[in-house]
């Protein structure tokens, strides 16, 4: 295994390479932006039609009151988990290989949360009254219903989104100062000057920075776990067969980490090429990420089996029927595809040669995310199709093209936000790569010195 990063890379060179990404990415960047715009506009068109006509055009019906929107909502929330959570955990564990990749991972968190928020809007029947769900004081003392898991969701996601943005922002202040010092014209200059808050790297600033960053990291870990547990509560707290499962919160958290890690691999490969980050997003780092993803894949598989087993060995006949329905009914192809993508495909990551093979890992990461999207759909839909009440069983409901269009469009929205961000804020953390290079070269020097001393001692004898 090679080195995570070259130790003799000059600090000035790091600045130069990363700043270049803000100005001249490969042509592919513009292709991606253009395609993302097109995809997003499909979603916007569908939403305008649905907003004006009513939710019926999504082809939802009485048992199937939730559709792909809620499934995609969970998917995007889940994807947001790896960025900030992994960044915080690895920071606490002093795993310095996180440094070149954490910035874009945190950006992924932020933007996938924003995408998830979009689905709340798309899903609501009366979006124009959405402020009813906010706890604002009114003269009639009307408050939202604090018992509803949806309200916990709103609160948890708001907390998570704003904390992640703050974590991302605090972490990039030193880099924004670098941008301020190096870019001398246009709106960028103004923007960076404003955002850098007058950062100068004084000892006082660094000292407080270190403590603050550590503190927020400590808060973010339990927060991220609670966010997806609460999303799981939307289902686990309900009474429906197939949802009312105690193991849902950890299962959701594992699934969230899983899809997030897979998305990190996908974006790693794209950014590495588009912004010419080969020196920083190195193959050994990819390898570490892949191994981590494999471990999480196995955790997810285990929890998945637990869920099936606990339903199977319980005496809850209705829940059992839903499980059988998943495996053999209308949804069987998607359900088995989920098992294949989520539990079989990851074994490709065990092959050493493939761990650093970019095309293979790109394909694998996309398949894993497909599996994770299917997982969310297979949680939401089958319960509706085969609930407690036989007269309302509906196995043939299929989401309309409007629904698919909005889900499709959300990918454009995410890509658009993410790619624009990467061109405005350095997607590799410059100051932390410098730290990484510095500490590693110091460690190597120390080692060399120790070896020399040992040799000297031996020579003396």
């Amino acid at each position: 295994m090679g080195k995570d990063i070259r130790e003799d890379i000059a600090w000035a060179q790091i600045n130069k390479d990363v700043l270049k990404s803000l100005e001249s990415p490969r042509k592919l960047y513009w292709v991606i932006i253009f395609v993302a715009l097109l995809v997003f506009s499909v979603g916007v068109g569908c939403e305008i039609y649905q907003y004006n006509t009513g939710m019926g055009v999504a082809n939802m019906d009485n048992p199937h009151v939730w559709g792909l929107y809620i499934a995609s909502f969970i998917f995007w929330i889940g994807m947001s988990h790896s960025g900030t959570l992994l960044s915080a955990i690895l920071h606490l564990m002093h795993a310095d290989w996180r440094k070149p990749i954490y910035r874009f991972a945190e950006a992924m968190t932020t933007f996938s949360l924003l995408t998830a928020g979009l689905f709340v809007a798309v899903h609501l029947g009366r979006l124009w009254q959405v402020y009813y769900a906010l706890p604002y004081p009114s003269e009639r003392w009307i408050w939202p219903n604090f018992q509803s898991p949806l309200l916990w969701d709103a609160m948890a996601i708001f907390t998570y989104l704003s904390s992640s943005i703050l974590f991302l922002y605090i972490g990039s202040i030193p880099d924004l100062a670098i941008c301020r010092d190096n870019i001398h014209q246009g709106w960028r200059k103004k923007l960076y000057t404003l955002l850098a808050l007058g950062w100068e790297g004084t000892d006082r600033q660094w000292r407080n920075f270190r403590v603050t960053y550590l503190t927020i990291a400590c808060f973010l870990i339990p927060l991220a776990v609670s966010v997806h547990s609460i999303v799981a509560s939307d289902f686990a707290m309900s009474q429906q067969p197939g949802w009312h499962v105690t193991s849902f919160p950890p299962y959701f958290v594992a699934g969230a980490l899983y899809s997030g890690c897979a998305a990190i691999i996908t974006l790693f490969i794209i950014l590495r090429y588009v912004f010419r980050f080969e020196e920083y997003m190195t193959l050994p780092i990819l390898k570490k990420t892949v191994r981590l993803t494999f471990a999480i894949a196995m955790v997810w598989t285990y929890l998945n089996c637990i869920e099936f087993a606990s339903v199977w060995y319980s005496h809850d006949q209705v829940a059992k029927d839903v499980l059988i329905q998943k495996a053999t009914g209308t949804y069987a192809p998607f359900w088995w595809a989920m098992i294949f993508c989520g539990s079989v495909v990851p074994f490709a990551m065990m092959v050493k040669k493939w761990q650093t093979n970019i095309p293979v890992m790109f394909a694998v990461s996309l398949l894993l995310n497909l599996g994770m999207w299917l997982e969310r759909w297979m949680i939401v839909a089958p319960t509706f199709s085969h609930g407690y009440y036989p007269w309302t069983w509906d196995h043939d409901q299929w989401p309309s093209l409007i629904q698919w269009g909005i889900v499709f469009g959300s990918f454009g929205w995410f890509t658009l936000l993410f790619m624009v961000f990467c061109k405005i804020v350095p997607s590799v953390s410059m100051y932390e790569v410098k730290e990484m290079v510095y500490h590693r070269s110091q460690a190597r020097k120390k080692e060399e010195r120790a070896v020399q001393e040992e040799l000297a001692v031996k020579g003396a004898h």
């Binding site: 907390t159 007058g198 790297g201 503190t215 808060f219 339990p222 100051y431 730290e435």
Partner: protein
């Protein structure tokens, strides 16, 4: 008496450390190493803290205060507003149900903690700040800057120390 500023740039932490140690040990009239010495570096570097001497960080007190306030505020607001809803029973559950309220209290605990920590960071680090009188873009690249403030009379001695340690560049400016 007017103060003057002096900024010297160095190539690496070892050189900067030697300078700082000498400045701390020297007794120059009109210059106090504890207050008038600032080290600027492109990376976070714990050793700087060591050779500058311990300086306390107070951010964590903001964190504690913010988190506790957030949690208490959440519970009293939520339980209080549910109690105002007395006639509106939902699903046979108690009017003030404890588990849901605790979930929200937990979230607000974290929210308050994070927000006030950031506020504390801005206050403790003195941000947003105007740029100090002397600043070099080299500091955000790869050099270590040492900024000192002193009386007119101390400038020559300070400059002498910087030069002796082979400063890459020395800037001087009249203070305000």
């Amino acid at each position: 008496m007017s103060k003057r500023y002096l900024l010297a740039l160095y190539n690496n932490f070892d050189e900067a450390e030697a300078v700082v140690r000498e400045l701390r040990n020297s007794e120059i009239k009109g210059f106090n190493a504890a207050d008038d010495l600032v080290v600027k570096s492109p990376i976070e570097h714990p050793e700087v803290e060591e050779f500058l001497g311990e300086k306390s960080v107070k951010v964590q007190w903001f964190t504690l205060g913010g988190a506790l306030t957030g949690g208490l505020l959440a519970f009293s607001l939520i339980a209080g507003s549910q109690a105002g809803f007395y006639s509106q029973m939902k699903g046979g559950k108690p009017i003030v149900p404890i588990p849901p309220d605790l979930v929200l209290t937990y979230e607000m605990f974290i929210l308050g903690g994070v927000y006030i920590t950031v506020l504390g960071f801005l206050i403790c680090a003195g941000l947003p700040a105007k740029r100090s009188p002397l600043y070099s873009a080299k500091v955000s690249e790869d050099q270590i800057g040492i900024l000192v403030k002193g009386d007119d009379g101390s400038m020559a001695k300070l400059r002498e120390i910087f030069t002796r340690h082979k400063a890459l560049e020395i800037q001087e400016e009249a203070g305000r």
